[in-house]
């Protein structure tokens, strides 16, 4: 398997606070990789560094063969990294399908002026976007709610809608920041099934998650960080038995019984 996302000695300092400390990790293509750690350990900062929301203090980030360090967020998204947010960020004045269609901004090629004159091409692009958005809504199971305004949707559906929007741009890598947070157990099952399906369709997933049920069940590889530094990496069982992880984060309860 090839490496899809590679962080090399990435450090992020906010003034005197070291949020991410010399972190190196690889996300293999086609895997489900989770990043876990206690509150304030730098997980969300790491995603924001990958997405280019903050500049890194030092170190480099590679996506495939491309060095994406210091690139603008929209460029990085254009290389094929889709993301969802910890606290849902949807476009509240638009309907569900329109939200998903915005995700396809880069799929439609026509410029603003060109779209005024090339009527037929614009209509074709619009139809293409709508069709793809409908397919995706069907895929995630929100087809019935396509014409509803996002503000009227329940929390769980909004979380799923964010995934659909991210999928709209055909990402190779999907970054999910706490996807299961705030979901009830039945919604969580639906969500985990969806993640499995997305994974089976050949996408790489990178999760940040607090919910151990989700993490331990679906991850192929887990990286644990504490105070911004990596303290363990490996499969679910490896991580669960790592004394340092137990001390810093999991507690005795999660130790696998022999």
């Amino acid at each position: 398997m090839s490496v899809l996302l590679k962080l090399v000695n990435v450090t992020k300092q906010f003034g005197g606070l070291i949020a991410v400390d010399n972190l190196s990790m690889c996300v293999e293509s086609g895997s489900i990789h989770s990043l876990i750690g206690p509150n304030g350990s730098g997980k969300t900062t790491t995603t924001n560094l990958i997405e280019g929301v903050y500049p890194v203090t030092s170190g480099r980030i590679y996506f495939g063969d491309v060095d994406i360090t210091g690139k603008a967020t929209h460029e990085i998204a254009g290389y094929g990294i889709g993301r969802t947010f910890q606290n849902i960020k949807l476009y509240n004045t638009m309907t569900a399908i329109e939200n998903v269609m915005v995700g396809g901004h880069e799929l439609a090629q026509l410029g603003l002026v060109a779209s005024l004159f090339r009527v037929r091409e614009l209509n074709r692009e619009e139809k293409m976007l709508r069709q793809k958005a409908e397919e995706l809504l069907n895929y995630v199971g929100l087809y019935e709610t396509r014409d509803q305004y996002v503000k009227n949707l329940p929390y769980g559906k909004r979380k799923i809608l964010e995934v659909a929007r991210a999928l709209m741009m055909n990402p190779k890598l999907l970054l999910l920041d706490e996807p299961a947070a705030g979901l009830n157990p039945s919604e969580r099952t639906v969500f985990v099934n969806l993640l499995h399906r997305i994974h089976n369709d050949g996408r790489t997933l990178f999760l940040i998650e607090h919910n151990m049920d989700v993490v331990m069940n679906i991850s192929e590889m887990i990286t644990v960080i504490n105070f911004g530094a990596k303290i363990a990496e490996g499969s679910a069982t490896d991580v669960q038995n790592n004394p340092e992880v137990i001390k810093a984060y999991l507690g005795q309860r999660y130790k696998v019984k022999k």
């Binding site: 949807l90 901004h105 880069e106 603003l112 976007l129």
Partner: protein, 323 residues
Amino acid sequence: MKKTVVALFGWILVLALVVLIFRFSNVYVQSIMNMLMYNIVLVLGLNFITGLTGQMNLGTVGMLALGAYAYGILTVTAGWNPWVALFAMFAVGFAVGRLLGYPSLRLKGFYLSLTTIGFSEIIRLLITNIEPLTGGTMGFSKVRRLSVWFYESQTKSDYFYILLAFVVIATVVANRIVNSKWGRSFKAVRDNSEAAEASGIDISKLKVMAFTLAAVYAAIGGAMYAGYNTYLNPSGFTLEYSQNYVAMLMIGGIGTVPGCIIGATIVTILPELLRGFADYYWIMFCTVCIVMAILVPDGLWPLIEKVFSRLRDFIQSHKSKVA
């Protein structure tokens, strides 16, 4: 498909109605309708930046003044053909849009509004003081009008038909943009710029684009204004007009093309209806604006749309009952 046919029919009906009303009105009403024409174009432009992209622009009148004076100077002082001058307005609008758009990337909220107010005041003061070019407070007169080979306006009022043609084109263009992926992307920037960036949208580029669109619309509106009035004076470009354009947007329904037109109509006509109140006119006008902001915060068009969809549902349910 059916929905677009209904919409098209609606537009044609409105257009025919407007022409009819104009045809059978006195000169006073006709002059208001002429004012309405360039107001609509300006609000449609403002809609891109303030309505869709959510950047409060209080400098519309500055853009309008630049367009009007540029058109005037080009047609009179430089002696250009009005049509060539009109095409030059695209360049003027483009330049102004870039000029205002780039600073707007670093400013948000109130600070951006203040900057745009500053911009329009600078323009007004420049116009007042560069007397050799603009005529200063004495004004700038005898601006030339546009004419086409089959139609030349004989009276001031008759210029309406040419202005109406502009409004139709401006509306069609605005409608296309609002309902395309660009309209959605503008709204995405307004609703949540972080998410828009993560969807691969370059928000800086989009904001500058929206500013440019607004400025091009305003410059064209300026050419319409100058052509209609044929006389320009800096006192016609004060801050209160910029506020009026925002009020039009707010009352009609932010982000929608029909909303812009409804808002422009109401705010253009309202002062005339309230003339009778004389000294108390401003109090009445502001009261109406505040009441509307409280009762219909989303503007009138969403309300009308809701009524229409209720009606449609009602008819459909009635039909199915019969069947």
